[in-house]
């Protein structure tokens, strides 16, 4: 569904993405993991066409991202920071997106109901707390029932109840055969929902494996232990590499 080949992106001298090749299929939930500044958001933004890579191609259902824009109707995106025009009310924001997406007339309003958004419909975006804005972003990304969902730090700032609700929704959508990409630093949130793990470090792809494989190879059950094991392995390899240099 998403094919990424030899994707490279540099900012001045800094390599944000270095020759990344990946292949994602429907029904997968992929966790994009890595330390801060490892290129997760850059990768997501490249898929969305918000950043323009200098090398490599990204294809979504066979269409190259670079010269198409219609493909974005199949993607629901939840940004890391959701900021909206200050004086708009929640109702207006939702209505505006519905009007922009005239191609879609069946709405998935499960999250809107779940988060009880209609109760605060009249509030302006300026007066909302960070968590509520996060909820709006989540609702908007699921609203047009897209085939691909890209969620950048979805659970950061959400209260436990909402966070659980969102996770349930993610599991449900995956069961419907959708492809879901998540980045998060709260690994315990990803535990039950991930099927695959992509680990990036300094713009390089360190590992792309299923959770099952990783559980076997590392002998760990919990995601945070698994990730710790990957990080340690990388660290050891780097260490050895340095030693060889001397």
């Amino acid at each position: 569904m998403i094919e990424i080949a030899h994707l490279t992106k540099t900012f001045r001298k800094f390599k944000a993405l270095d020759d990344i090749s990946l292949h994602f299929e429907p029904g997968q939930t992929i966790s994009l993991l890595g330390p801060n500044g490892s290129g997760k958001t850059t990768l997501i933004k490249s898929i969305l066409g918000l950043m323009i890579p200098e090398k490599g191609t990204i294809r979504i259902n066979g269409n190259e991202v670079k010269d198409h824009w219609e493909y974005r109707s199949q993607i629901g995106y939840m940004p890391q920071i959701g900021r909206y025009p200050e004086n708009m009310t929640i109702r207006q924001v939702i209505k505006m997106l519905k009007e922009i997406r005239k191609d879609c007339n069946r709405y998935d309003e499960e999250l809107i109901e779940g988060f009880n958004i209609p109760a605060v419909h009249h509030k302006t975006m300026r007066s909302l707390s960070g968590g509520t804005r996060q909820k709006i972003s989540a609702c908007l990304s699921f609203l047009f029932s897209p085939d691909i969902l890209i969620l950048d730090e979805p659970t950061a700032g959400l209260d436990p109840v909402s966070s659980e609700l969102l996770k349930d929704k993610i599991v449900k959508e995956r069961a419907n055969g959708k492809l879901i990409l998540i980045t998060s630093h709260v690994l315990s949130d990803l535990d039950d929902i991930t099927t695959h793990i992509v680990y990036l470090q300094d713009g390089k792809l360190m590992c792309f494996k299923t959770v099952e494989e990783l559980k076997k190879s590392t002998g760990q059950e919990k995601l945070n232990k698994i990730v710790a094991a990957i990080m340690q392995k990388n660290y050891r390899e780097e260490y050895l590499l340095h030693e060889n240099n001397y």
Binding site: L50, S73, I81, N87
Partner: protein
């Protein structure tokens, strides 16, 4: 496109800065109009106020608004919309909001007090200044990644056209006063939208000769009609060229 314009407008018309801008313009216009009974004097004062306020408010407000809505722009661009459509729609929303503010603040009172050709040209030049300086703000937004730098650039651009340009022009006239520089001077004036707006109004006010070298030149070389058409065309270029450039650069910008 229409949808985005509509909602940007809905947001902006509730914006406090726009409301205050409208009120201040209205207050100034009404008080200046009330002072004397000489229409052309009042229009001259209003012209000076327009030339000073409109560019700097338009460019600063638009730049800040564009930079503040970066995340929202990002969200909209994740929808199936062309980048160009998105950018121009956002520009149109801001430009329309500022235009309405100017029309309500200056246009309506002027038309009530003195309805003549000079008043209408004053309104037209104010509108063009609004369009031009918000287009320049769009260009600044596209060129800079950092908000602080962008606002700095906006202030410098506005000051350059309002103050600095005339100084440079004067020094140019002084240093080349032995040569026939009238025609090159006309060309140079077209490089400053604020000067163009000034000339457009002065040509209608019969005060062109009073207001210095450039006004007299325009009157002498082109006559009122040709001069007006020329300035209007120049101002139209000043609106369109920054917009096209901004759309081109935005196509390849990382957000």
């Amino acid at each position: 496109m229409k949808t985005i314009i509509k909602y940007v407008l809905l947001d902006l018309l509730k914006n406090k800065t726009i409301l205050v801008y409208t009120l201040i313009l209205a207050a100034i216009t009404i008080s200046v109009s009330g002072i004397g009974d000489n229409a052309s004097k009042a229009l001259l004062s209003l012209l000076n106020i327009t030339l000073l306020f409109v560019p700097i408010i338009s460019i600063l407000f638009s730049t800040i608004y564009f930079f503040n809505s970066v995340e929202f722009t990002e969200l909209l661009l994740a929808q199936p919309i062309k980048r160009k459509t998105m950018l121009l729609a956002e520009y149109a929303g801001i430009a329309i909001a500022l235009t309405i503010a100017y029309l309500v603040g200056v246009g309506v009172p002027i038309c009530i007090f003195y309805y003549n050709l000079a008043a209408v040209t004053l309104i037209i030049s104010g509108l063009f200044l609004t369009l031009i300086f918000s287009a320049l703000a769009l260009l600044i937004f596209v060129l800079f990644k950092d908000k602080t730098k962008g606002i700095g650039a906006a202030i410098i651009t506005a000051l350059f056209f309002i103050l600095l340009f005339d100084g440079l022009l004067l020094s140019f006239i002084y240093s080349f006063s032995d040569y026939p520089i009238e025609k090159p001077l006309l060309g140079l004036i077209s490089l400053n939208p604020v000067d163009l707006a000034r000339i457009l109004v002065l040509l209608q006010l019969d005060a062109a000769v009073m207001m210095g070298y450039s006004g007299a030149l325009f009157k002498k070389f082109m006559g009122s009609a040709m001069g007006s058409i020329y300035t209007l065309v120049c101002m139209l270029c000043w609106t369109i060229i920054p917009l096209i450039t901004a759309a081109r650069i935005f196509k390849k910008k990382d957000i």
